[in-house]
Symmetry: C3
Subunit: 362 residues, 3 copies
């Protein structure tokens, strides 16, 4: 099933030659064949392009009726009769480029919606698209061709480079951003972090949070994710770093370039990441840590100490992946064979997963 034209209208059609060129792929097929769009391998038709990453779906490839397939060179022989092959050592990247040709990103429609509130001294670059009920504060600066979605709020003094997207309901404050930065729906950048200190009487006094957030070029912040501004120095996300949805970045976190932070991860204040660190879903990092470049942190890990560059850790507390795996296997075997302790009934009763049915009498 190809993309629903109501939501994803397709440009084109394009000849195979054009697609192969955009993809940087070597074409084995009729260069003049016209293709209309992209589709999954198992449902693509004669006018569509699919792709294959590796051997795992070889059966689907052989059964496919796609007009063309992007795939690694070593699988070329498995392409069905009549299907054109575009060979690439990075087939997913090649496919992304082809898909983008059929479905270019939505271009900003220059203009300011009449319901938007734009401060008189805000500076908007040429071609900006400011949507309904958007709010752009005093002295804010947007580069060229920025897309500001419905209800988005850009606070006073914020600066964004060219080709940024601040999507519906996103809020940015105390923020300096480069080019091609995206804040997805409901993202929150620059708000006051969790900084306070107790008085002797037990009241909490807020510590003024006097830093900012700096987002490098091509940073993306996922839907409903939060990036707190710094306490004194800044919170910084390096160029290309991407946050998935529902991520929490505490004050004064600093990352290098190209970090990948998956959904629901939490990074406590002042922790520093090198370049190309990957953190899998729901992992948590305590504060003031150093995570070296290209370290990989597993899903649900609980990281409480520094991680050297290039190391893979997982578990809570986190440990090298190989160790964690062995420990998990051992624990599982233990659970599978150990009889209940003679010490008496289990105290940790595993509560049943809630079914939404309250067990109260009220």
């Amino acid at each position: 099933m190809s993309a629903d034209p109501r939501f994803h209208p397709a440009a084109g059609p394009y000849p195979l030659s054009r697609l192969a060129e955009a993809a940087g792929a070597e074409l084995a097929g009729d260069a003049a064949r016209m293709l209309n769009g992209v589709a999954p391998l198992d449902s693509a038709g004669a006018g569509e392009v699919a792709f294959l990453d590796g051997r795992k779906h070889l059966a689907s490839l052989k059964a496919s009726r796609a007009g063309a397939v992007v795939l690694p060179p070593d699988l070329a022989a498995s392409v069905p009769e009549g299907c054109a092959a575009m060979l690439s050592r990075t087939p997913h990247l090649a496919f992304a480029r082809i898909a983008a040709l059929f479905h270019p990103p939505r271009a900003p429609v220059p203009g300011i919606h009449p319901t938007a509130t734009v401060a008189a001294d805000a500076v908007l670059g040429e071609g900006c698209d400011i949507g309904p009920h958007a709010v752009i504060g005093a002295g804010a600066v947007l580069g060229a061709r920025c897309l500001v979605g419905p209800h988005a709020v850009i606070g006073p003094g914020c600066v964004f480079g060219d080709d940024c997207r601040i999507l519906a309901h996103a809020a940015a404050s105390f923020c300096l951003a480069g080019h091609r930065v995206t804040l997805h729906q409901g993202a929150r950048v620059g708000q006051e972090g969790f900084g306070f200190t107790p008085t002797p009487e037990g009241r909490f006094v807020t510590i003024p949070q006097l830093g900012r957030v700096r987002l490098g070029d091509e940073v993306e912040i996922g839907a409903n994710s939060c990036v707190d501004r710094g306490a004194l120095d800044d919170t910084v996300l390096g160029p290309g770093t991407r946050l998935d949805n529902l991520v929490q970045i505490g004050h004064n976190v600093v990352t290098g370039r190209g970090c990948v932070i998956v959904a629901q991860v939490g990074i406590s204040g002042s922790t520093r990441l090198g370049d190309f660190v990957t953190i899998a879903g729901q992992a948590g990092l305590t504060g003031h840590l150093n995570i070296g470049s290209k370290a990989r942190i597993g899903a649900q890990a609980g990281v409480q100490s520094d991680v050297p560059a290039g190391q893979d850790v997982t578990g809570s507390p986190a440990m090298p992946v190989k160790d964690a795996l062995r420990a998990a296997i051992y624990l599982r075997q233990l659970g599978a064979r150990k009889a209940r302790s003679a010490a008496g009934p289990a105290r940790e009763e595993q509560k049943e997963p809630p079914s939404g049915r309250s067990e109260q009498t009220d």
Copy 2:
């Protein structure tokens, strides 16, 4: 204490006979007695209806001054003198129906607020209630009696059936929804998922996300939860499936009917759930898994492999609940008695829970 009339005005009063009928319960008491509302068992008065699920709160029942109580037949003998009993094998369901009689859900007030922005070619069913600053995009279609709250955004081409609620600050895009679907406050449905691929130079190229989100009848998405649209095929939540708050649903997740997904759960892309799967709070599932119907996944579980239908798993990595329980007991006993290793000071220092007090000198 019954419901605050400033927030929850009560319809009625109603005679017991009417309540018992609505509840599908067998009445043991004066059918003509008038009741005014509902209240918790331990604070209900003579004009109020309470309920009891099971034996756990029997003491509260005996002390209760409620005018009527809904409860299972086997507890009928414990009802205090003067208190009418409505007997039901599903007392909580019966109580829900009675409560809804006193407090019917807020009906939409037909009309479009003057500050709302509704595209000229959007189609609104009869009786729709479009609130302040709501935005309804080009070609969107809403069924009858839909309630769209303040600042809600319904993107171009979206389709909703009848009696849907898209509450304050919710955002839907690339979305096809059935009837009686609810998006709670700040829910995000249909946004671009976390799909990108690296170039050889280490830049990330976004993979166009060309699918949609399909929500079956009676699906509910909790506050600030996120449901990403599919990469090519759709992300699908089956009829009756309910998500609690702060849940993350990755691209191309597919669920059957009646799944229950508790707060802060994360499900990675392309994982499939059968029918009536229950996932307890903060659990995480990796991608491309198959979770069979009626499987139950425990709180904070880390599911990394398929779960057969009807199985209960918990732990991280997840394992059958019985095994996880035994492993946890063993681990706990180990912690309670094992002396510190002679290998030297503990390397995993349990960091103190943060108190909001920064330990920096800045």
Copy 3:
């Protein structure tokens, strides 16, 4: 580097005597010296005030060129020549007061933005600042000097005391709040909780949620956090309690005063916290628990049973911290030395952290 004046304009300058007085600190230095602002210890200049918490950063202190430093009395001797010292047993609190003198919190600018929608019978105290596109519902009451940010929504009947801040995109409904309460960006308070019950046929029927949310004085709710209203009785957060970002509070949770709930914590319905309970990041608590005053719950803990006052627990399932530490050490040693089981290949393969690259063929 001191605070960016574009975002954090500084009041002052002030003489040291004034700062010491505000800080409640003992001054050792020239009372007439003028200071301009605050900065981190390692970058502060002659016109700036820094602070030091303890010995950890003594080296930075000795190298510092700050004009004045706030620090504990026992470190006074380490203050560099020419740097004035302000001695305090609570240096972070003292510093917070000095920072607030230079950077007082943004005062509300009295007035109602022309794009705001305020119900005719809403009552606004003197000096309220109602921002663009804010919505204040029928019968809502705000005390004096409340700040309501862009797109914030205050539902019908809600009551807030004086000096509250309901920041951009926050939504409050069914809510009674005291003085100096803050809802940060995108916070959701008062929405319908996750309450429903199954019919025999497997449909879910919503249980009307007829309670409210009550927020004591000085409660703060972090960005994108969710606090569900009660099912019958109320959900209550005691005075001074602070929630970080992306926290989930289920219906009928009740806390005492001064609780600290760090990012991404989830507390299930009807669980009760005493006073000054601290819950570290990403911890989860099941429902109907009692957590005693001053208990401390560790990061990522899974609490399934009551915690006595003053106890520290961590792990999942949670256990006393000392026990958890020992168990973790043991597990780690196990992983580091145990050879792969002769039982065969590991079944729990640790999936690689996702890199955003889909492994599908579509």
